[in-house]
């Protein structure tokens, strides 16, 4: 009661900030915090009922204090809930920007095998609402990106030093087309390629940049 659960939620959120992936959504905890808010609100209403709108705080300091504590707890719980959800959505947005396949729906590049453990692991960690959010945010991002096709907004934020880089292939990624012809990316081979051609594959973890 009185914000104890909200505190737990915030601790979860705090922990989430430093984790590489998203921990499971605390459905139970969120539900109990919401329940607490509703109980507090009901209590406030029952306290105020006998006064029928003519409540004077200076005459009833004890009741006023109780009301204040209830109000503050409700507000605090709301903030905790908002903070918890915001941390998670921020995390999800970051994943969207980094091209991480959060929902596990997009098929990978041709000829590549998907890692089923990763996809299923992340999908069960989201609440249904969050899945919906990711889908819609993905659309929004795609729409915004579509205005800047020449730039590739989700590209690397490291300043480019060289046009060409050495990469090692970590997972089979099939054949890619470059302006110097097609390259077949087979596992454990090494190539000297144009950075712009393989940016996506590096982000998706098929290739590793060397040096």
């Amino acid at each position: 009661m009185y914000g104890e659960l909200g505190n737990k939620l915030v601790q979860h959120g705090k922990r989430t900030q430093n984790l590489p992936n998203l921990p499971p959504y605390q459905t139970e905890l969120v539900r109990s915090v919401v329940r607490e808010v509703r109980e507090l609100n009901r209590e406030v209403n029952t306290i105020l009922e006998p006064f029928s709108g003519s409540f004077n705080p200076s005459q009833e300091p004890a009741t006023a204090c109780q009301l204040l504590v209830n109000h503050l707890s409700m507000r605090r719980n709301k903030r905790c809930l908002l903070a918890y959800h915001r941390v998670r959505t921020d995390k999800l947005e970051e994943m969207c920007w980094n091209g991480v396949d959060v929902l596990g729906t997009e098929p990978g590049p041709e000829g590549a095998e998907r890692d089923p453990a990763v996809g299923e692991g992340s999908i069960s960690n989201l609440s249904p609402e969050e899945e919906e959010y990711v889908r819609l945010y993905g659309d929004l991002l795609a729409a915004y990106k579509g205005q800047w096709t020449d730039i590739d907004l989700t590209g690397s934020l490291e300043p480019p030093k060289d046009l060409f880089i050495d990469v090692r292939v970590l997972k089979d990624a099939g054949e890619i087309q470059t302006e110097y012809g097609a390259i077949t990316l087979t596992k454990n081979s090494q190539f000297y390629v144009r950075q712009g051609d393989v940016e996506r594959l590096i982000q998706q973890g098929y290739l590793q940049k060397l040096g």
Binding site: V30, V33, V34, V37, R38, N41, H71, L72, M74, R75, K78, L81, L82, H85, T89, D90, E93, S127, E129, E130, E132, Y133, L136, Y137, L140, A143, Y144, Q147, W148, D150, I151, D152, L153, G155, S156, L157, P159, P160, D162, L163, E179, R194, Q195, G196
Partner: protein
């Protein structure tokens, strides 16, 4: 504008527009990354740069088509330059989006409250589209997750009751490093020991509060570093 500026504009060597644009873009990029607040969107500059990027991409495509061994070297130079330009614009836009995402309600209020002219210069049309859409998504998400089952008086996202505004705003009192490009008078500064004035002279480097130099940065008299 003083006599030095006039002399410089008459006698100085003509700098081509694209060099100036590169300089302006780099400056805008650095400023956007260091300023705590969103800066006005340089629509014309970005348009010009994007035009040039598009032209260069075409040039590159043509030159690759030729497969002339002699042009290979210049091709690499052009492509490298192109990648760098792309990086600048990308990083610039991403820095802006990051700020918009951080304080979405603050910027919606700003673009709503101010007159249409200034709202347009703060955000590009696509950015304000993104902002509105993003806010709608966020509030929908909060609503379906928990807010809908809250008592009605607690459902708002921009409450100011209890003396605390729910709308988070950027901290305009945070310090920024800046270099003075043109003499531009004095600014007020204040600290624990009271107030003082700082005379901004060309070439000086200062650490000042953002609120003190904001207007001068927007006006181009001071650059952030």
């Amino acid at each position: 504008m003083d006599i030095d500026d006039i002399l410089a504009s008459v006698s100085g060597p003509r700098i081509p527009q694209r060099t100036l644009d590169l300089q302006a873009l780099t400056r805008a990029w650095v400023a956007e990354r260091t300023a705590p607040e969103l800066l006005p969107y340089p629509a014309e500059l970005v348009d010009r740069v994007m035009d040039r990027v598009r032209k260069q991409i075409e040039t590159v495509e043509e030159m690759t088509g030729n497969m002339d061994p002699k042009s290979n070297f210049s091709l690499i130079v052009i492509q490298t330059e192109l990648e760098r330009f792309k990086f600048l614009v990308r990083s610039f836009l991403r820095a802006r989006i990051a700020k918009i995402d951080k304080y979405p309600h603050h910027y919606t209020n700003l673009s709503k409250s101010s007159d249409p002219d200034s709202a347009q210069t703060l955000l590009s049309p696509t950015e304000s589209q993104y902002l509105t859409h993003h806010i709608a998504l966020l509030s929908h998400h909060y609503n379906t997750s928990f807010l809908a089952s809250f008592p009605a008086q607690l459902q708002r996202l921009d409450d100011t009751a209890g003396g605390i505004s729910m709308v988070d705003t950027p901290d305009s009192e945070s310090a920024v490093f800046c270099r003075v490009l043109r003499d531009c008078g004095e600014v007020d500064i204040w600290g624990e020991d009271g107030r003082a004035k700082v005379d901004l002279r060309r070439g000086d480097v200062w650490v000042l509060r953002w609120s003190a130099v904001k207007e001068r940065v927007v006006g181009g008299d001071v650059e952030l570093i």
